[in-house]
Every structure is written in structure tokens, then in C-alpha cells.
Amino acid sequence: MVLAQATAAVGVHGSLGGLGAGLAAIGAGIGIGQIGGKAVEAIARQPEAISKIQLNMIIAAALVEGVALFAVVVAAFF
């Protein structure tokens, strides 16, 4: 595989699984960052609704993190 030969030439130790997990982390970071940003904006607009906004933010973050962890599991075992 071209990628394996290239990494062997450069001297990088790792596997495609590690690469996959890293890409999943990028996705999770972008997703949860967006969720957090919008949640903070919503709190700034309406501070009385802090607890509801916080609750929904945590739920959405857990769901996005679930998707990222699927990718990590598949990367680790396949």
C-alpha cells in the first residue's frame, strides 16, 4: 500500500487504525465545538433558560461523541 510505504520511508510508527481514530477525533471536535458555541450564544440571548439549554447541549454532545466513538471502535478492531 502506498501509504504504508510512504510512512515507512518517513519513519512514522502507526497504523491506518490510528489514522482513522484521529480523523474521527477531528469530526467530534468540530461537532461538539459547534454545539457548545451555539449553546453559549443561546444562553447569552436568554440567561433565564440556562438549565434547559445546558441539558440539551449535554445530550447533543453525548450523541455526537457516540458517533465519533463508533469510528474509533471500527478503527481499532478492523
Partner: protein
Amino acid sequence: MNLKLFNICVICAFFLGTVTFTNIASAQEKAADGTEKKFEPKETILEHISDSHSWPVLGNTTLPLPVILYTDKGLETFSSHQLSPEEGVSTIYHGTNYNYKLDGETVKVVDASGNVDEAATKKVMDFSITRNVACMFMAIAILLIVFLRVSASYKKRVGKAPKGLQSFMEPLILFVRDDIAQPNIGVKYARFMPLLLTIFFFILLNNLLGMVPFFPGGYNLTGNIAVTAVLSVIIFFVVNLNGNKHYWKHIFVPNPWWLFFIMIPVEIVGIFTKPIALMIRLFANITAGHILILSLISLIFIFKTVWVSPVSIVFVVFMDAIELLVAFLQAYIFTLLGALFIGMAIADHHEEHTEEVI
């Protein structure tokens, strides 16, 4: 002022104590091995996450657990002490039907000289009480004791204010009822309350006990994909056996009839992927948390210096706080999504159009 100074001194003494303790522990490991063995983080982490046939109590002492094998020649029961009398030593046990040897953590059939007999190993079914099973029984016992006491005190104190254990469990139970079951399932939520309460407290207790580092805790039950698979199979059966006509119509009769060819396979796959997503989400979150904490502690042994310990321990404290949040959150999310699926299955026709389906 004096109390504050005293508290600061106690905390500093605690951290210094952990630093010296790790020094002593590494010295002991060298002496026990004779020659210095290179520390393998991957091996140690995998050993702590996976199941085992004995229950480690403190350091090297372990409680051997029964090995129950159902072979094609009959049932065999023996103590795992026969397979592994000491830590790391594995001997051949001459059972009544076959000879057995421990390979990693699986029991394999060997012939007299120690060669693994693959064909015979495939036919042996392993029903042993492993550490996960024993700890699950312990968690079940704790849940039964707590909730039977709470329900007895509800019967005894009808109409009076809750007291003791009852007043501790009541906010959690009402949380499951008012924030998870009732908004998502609707009017008929009372039928599913036992299921949702059981799932929530089972996952929560096992997550929390898995984070305790000493004897009865420290086991990885919810991070075992077989356990989460069973929980999601339960949700699968409850959702599909309680689906009413509108649920099945939504799946098999797409709204404009000409979307028939693509929507029906997608919806059928959707019936299965929703519980599978539940399963993998819980498994991956809990296992990833354990791996992270074990890796941070392994840093001390990889660098082989005592001065990494304060850094590592501070990181581990932060990660433990996050893991505590994850333990609660994953139990809540599993129960919430379960309630959501059940709600979608028993929803009435009017609510289907006004409610947003995720």
C-alpha cells in the same frame, strides 16, 4: 486559619504519600521478576479491561472463580485455581472429559502434551462464573437490597414524608419518571417505568463501581460488548413487540408510494441500527474512559521516574471527574433513547405529525 493550614498540610502529605508509594511499588516489581521486564502498557491496559477467571483482591492475591464448561460429553465444573495456581502460571488441568489449559483468558482443550485441540475447543461452551459475572451478581444484589428496602418503606410510610434511603432514591426515581419516561412515552408511561428504572440504575451502578479502584469495584461490565448487546436486544424486543399499527405503517408504507423502493430497506435497516447504536455508544464510552485512565497511570511506569507521578495523578483526577460525568450521562442517554424509541412505537396518529422525530 489554623484549620485551613492543617487541610493544606494534609493534602500535601497525601500527594507526597502517593509519590513515595509508587516508588515502593516499582521496587517490588523489580525484585519479584528477577530480571527487569520492560513495561508493556498495551498488555497491562488490555488485562485490566477484559474479563478474567479469577477475582483480584489485593496485589497478587486473587479469588479463584468456578469454571463451568459444557462439553459434548457433559458438564464440567472446577475451580480456576486448577488452571492457574499463581499469577501468570498456567497449568494443564486433567478434567473428566478433556484436558484444559488457559490461553490468555480463554479455556482451551489440549491433549496430554499441551497442544491445543482446535476442533474440540470449538465444541466446548464456556458458562464459567468469570469476574464480570460475579461482579454483576454483586451489583444485582446491591440493587435488590436498596430498592426492596425503598419500596418497603414506601408501603410503610404511606402519606408521610420520605425518610432515610427512601429520600435519597426518590429524586433519582422521580427524575427518571418526569424527565425521561413521561415526556417521551406520553400517557401510557407507567407500563414501561420498571424497565426504564432497571436499565438506568443497572447501567449507573455498574459504571460507578467500575471506577472504584479497589476490591469490590474496578471491573469493566458495561464496557463489555456482550452486556450492552443484551441491554439493547431487550430494548429492541420491547419496541417491536409494542409497536402499534401506526409504527409499522410508518415503516412499510412510505408517504408518497413511489418512494417504496428506497424507503423500505432504509427503514428496515433503521429498526436494527437504532439498538446497535445504543450498544456501541455505551460500550465505547465506558471502555475509552477506562483505557484513558489506565494510560495516564501507565505514564508513570513508562517514564520510570517518580517525578512524573504528581503530573500523572493530577491528570487522572481530572479524567476521573469527567468519567463520573460520563457514567451518569451514558446511563441517562441509554434510558432516554430507549424511552424515545418506545414512545415512537406506541405513539398515536395525531402526535405523529406534530412531534419531531429524531
